[in-house]
Symmetry: C2
DNA sequence: ATTTTTGCAATACAGTTGCAAGGTAAAGGG
DNA sequence: CCCTTTACCTTGCAACTGTATTGCAAAAAT
């Protein structure tokens, strides 16, 4: 075989450039030539690795979810062997919030893809399976909550709600409506609902009480 | 003056066509000519009422939020004079979920604009003020919850969480991940958290306890 | 050494885009 | 009557889009 090149590496390089363009100017601005320019390669090369624009888009979408997955895995592994479910979920979900500029960029891309797939149901399958797996895992963890084993919390709807807050908070933070701190407070409040108040070292000790009041923004 | 025409009416007509295009094919497909075709007018006329594409976009965005506003107002007015805050909020927020095809279409447009403004901060101001007002109102209503007057729920973060679930549920329903029923159950669960279990005819009576267990999906 | 495969570049092309410019027709004011 | 204003249409244009085609150099296979 002639001049061999790592195909995946090149495609990843290009997808990376795509996401930079998408994060800065939106998916509308993602064209072969823009992406090529951002990746500092020729437009022909982009075309060599992705025969159509849609193929490039689908690949980038896969990269996004894969990136989130590794982000989650890293955060979870940093927690040690058998972390309590609430801490596990908090670590996972916190990782998905756009709290720093890197994750803000990723979040913008994800949001753009959300709108993109909303109109292209064929492409949405990947995202669908993705969030379904996440929800199943979350429900699994919630099932280990004392409130769940006591039958006072149904894991499935609770997981739905938890992931919904996450998504909603992410979007609002991206839009600049909420500060990251506000989002974290809301996330913890939601976890309180599912797991009960975590730190038992409080006098009043009830969800929603005594937590710090951040500026609303 | 010569041939007088209701300017606002024409602009509304065009914006309506824009939203039809956006709902079906995404904001990327919103071009002068596409919108003109959808509105069954000449491209020149569109240009006559909107000098630039961005001007058209901004107007359409305003129409979206105005439409939501009237939707909310109608739902609230249908509730009579002084409804209990929980019922008021439920009616309001339910109106914002994409539960029928009409609201699904609006939701797709709103989602598209969300991604659009995420990259064009200058345009985002309208949305920003919009949700800020909504959050303030929601927080106001939550403040009337017994849990809030008892100091066990902080209205501001609670409002943040509530609107976040709403947004997240809407997106997931749009993406086909959750059924409308699932979304409604999750919304009610969130209201339970804030207002306590509604029917007080329960022994245990704790937020999040004993609520009905709906089929997941 | 020649053939074939592969990586990549350059170009061509048809279609679409936003926008500007110029046109016509009608309606009201002078 | 004319003249100005308004509504609207048509055309044109430069910039951009995705994609197909062609070309070419290098490297492995033969």
């Amino acid at each position: 075989m002639p001049k061999r090149v790592d195909h995946r590496e090149r495609r990843a390089l290009i997808a990376d450039a795509l996401m930079r363009v998408a994060a800065e100017q939106g998916l509308e601005a993602v064209s072969l030539r823009h992406v090529a320019a951002a990746a500092q390669v020729s437009a022909g090369m982009v075309q060599h690795y992705f025969r159509t624009r849609d193929e490039m888009m689908v690949f980038a979408l896969a990269v996004v979810s894969e990136r989130n997955e590794t982000r989650i895995r890293r955060a979870v592994e940093a927690l040690g062997a058998t972390p309590p479910p609430r801490a596990l979920l908090r670590a996972m979900l916190t990782e998905l919030l756009p709290l720093d500029e890197e994750r803000r960029a990723d979040g913008r891309v994800a949001l753009a893809f959300l709108a993109y797939t909303a109109v292209r149901p064929a492409v949405a399958a990947a995202l669908h399976a993705d969030t379904a797996a996440l929800r199943a895992f979350v429900a699994d963890q919630i099932a280990r909550s004392p409130l769940a084993t006591a039958g006072r919390v149904d894991p499935e709807p609770a997981a739905v709600g938890l992931l919904a807050v996450l998504e909603g908070l992410g979007i609002h933070v991206l839009g600049g409506h909420y500060s990251p701190e506000t989002a974290l407070v809301a996330l913890d409040a939601q976890l309180d609902l599912i797991f009960g108040r975590e730190p038992p070292a409080e006098t009043v000790s009830r969800a929603g009480s005594g937590r710090p009041r951040p500026a609303p923004r």
